[in-house]
Amino acid sequence: MRKFVESIRRLWAIPEAGILAPLVVCAVVFQSINPTFLGESSVSAILRAMAFVGMIAVGQTWLMISGGIDLSVGSVAGLCAITASWLMKAQGWPVPAGIAAGLAVGAAAGLINGVLSVRIGIPAFIATLGMLYVARGLNYLLCKGYPIYPIPDALKEFGRAEPLGLSWAFLLFAALVVLADLCLRRTVYGRMVYATGGNVEVAAIAGIPTTRVRIACYVFTGALAAAAGILLMCQLNVGQPEIGTGWELDVIASVVIGGVSLFGGVGTVVGTFLGLLLMQVVRSGLVVAGVNTHWQTVAVGVIMVVAVGVDLLRRRTKIS
């Protein structure tokens, strides 16, 4: 018994425990209400649904740790999906070229965001909100609001494939999480990102090319938004102009729930992953538990706040 208490206490000391605890509690509660909750197809649906917003959240994690923020991610994801599918369908580009172009558009949007906010000094909130509008406008200019359909068969196959019972999008996302987490924790580059977000002046004095680091995070986020948009397009089998609408708040919410500070310098990719998982578990769990659809909306809000509250509690108990 004492050993158990001790191991609980030790778990509680892990930085990500604050978010893990509500996650486990939610999963257990939903499972006991409806034992099919942790069934295979349900779990795989949860994981698959995370992939798209999740990829962007990884980029946003880096970006927010470096001190930036990007509200245009959803809009850019939509633009890139449409650009890629439009090039392939209307312009007859081959698949790899179309995808590369889509990713390039995402990276370019990130670059513009970065230059505007870091070099020119326009608050990131406004620079990227501007980009949100610009990307959405361009998206609809390209496709006139009409879904681009059909997309090449190869992509359709790719989007429908179920490797390991999951999806390519999820596997790519999972690989990204591992890689991005390692990079952030272990590499010089990751350290530069933390330092830059912690205090730009201090980082600059240390000879860290802060401008480049910060802009790179924007580019990285833009490219990941593009990837998410294109992967969703493959899965839906159609270039939907609505792809990405409203993702910005979802992304930021997951990242913040996962422990990233809005002021930069703090957070981990694993935390973000847990934040994403929590949000998705809650969303699916409430349906499985048979909660009324409007109460679900209420519950999502409440659980979000409670989860962050638990994390706060953990950080406070550690100090005393």
Binding site: A45, Y140, K144, G145, Q235, L236, I243, G246, T293, H294
Partner: protein, 315 residues
Amino acid sequence: FLLMAVAACGPRSTGTSNPATTKKKFYWVQGLKGHPVHQLTQIAFLEGCREFGYDGEIIGADNDDLSSTIALAEQALAKGDAAGMAVWTGNPGWNPFIEKAARTGLPIVLPHFPSPEGSVPGASGIISCDPAAYAAEAAKEIGKAIGGKGAVAVTQGSFNSTENLVAVTFAKTLGDLYPDVKVLEPQEETFDAPKAIARAVSILQANPDVVAALSTTGNGATTWSGAQRETGKSLVVVSMDYTRVNLDLVKDGSIHAVIAQPLWEESFGAAELLDRIVRGESIPWWTKLTAPFLTREKTGPYYALIDKVEAAIAR
């Protein structure tokens, strides 16, 4: 009926002399302007305007926030060149705007959204199908397809009067006809595809006896075909809107049918009604159209219509 619609695009009653007024513009006021279904209606309306000898103009914001579309419409009317206006709304929030515009003598027609006579002061009439009718038809068709047993899931894109009416009528009709069928409470589908699919999967998870699904929104086809793929279940799915994507899903058997709201007819027809009012004719309050239930065999002509719209958009 569809043939009629396609035919309506061809040359028709040419006898109409130009209206006596110098105002020759019909406005089409519609929020979420870029929505593909809305675009289809816009093209139909513009075609109608051309047909009857008017300039058509589309007014609307990209979002579905009515105050921004109203602001835009007020500015357009301020130019003073309007001969008529069609307002795409079923929302009483528009009433003050409509009433005010009507006070200047502007003929106003409301396409698509049914509402009882007198509920929209100033409007001359509405033109639409009856959602209750297609909801009842969907109930009959689904009940038949599932052999009167099992549970049926219902998802709504959002909760608004029309979608609520469809969901309620559907549940009632199905319950009356097939007492053994359980109709689940409607769930919000949301407009984000991954979230919608995950939610549909969860519904299936929680209710293993679901054998059919009705979505009261056009994205339902993608949502429920995705959910079927992920769970490996096979359902009788009925969704809205005859987009090419949805027609293909019907054709390849992923979903059972889509309900074809007479979008083209009502939009084209709105221009016709306006023209009739301008020429001094009187029109009935509700010009009622039907909404066909498109199973695999019936999709053919709609591809033709889509081709036509796509060609128009490409222009």
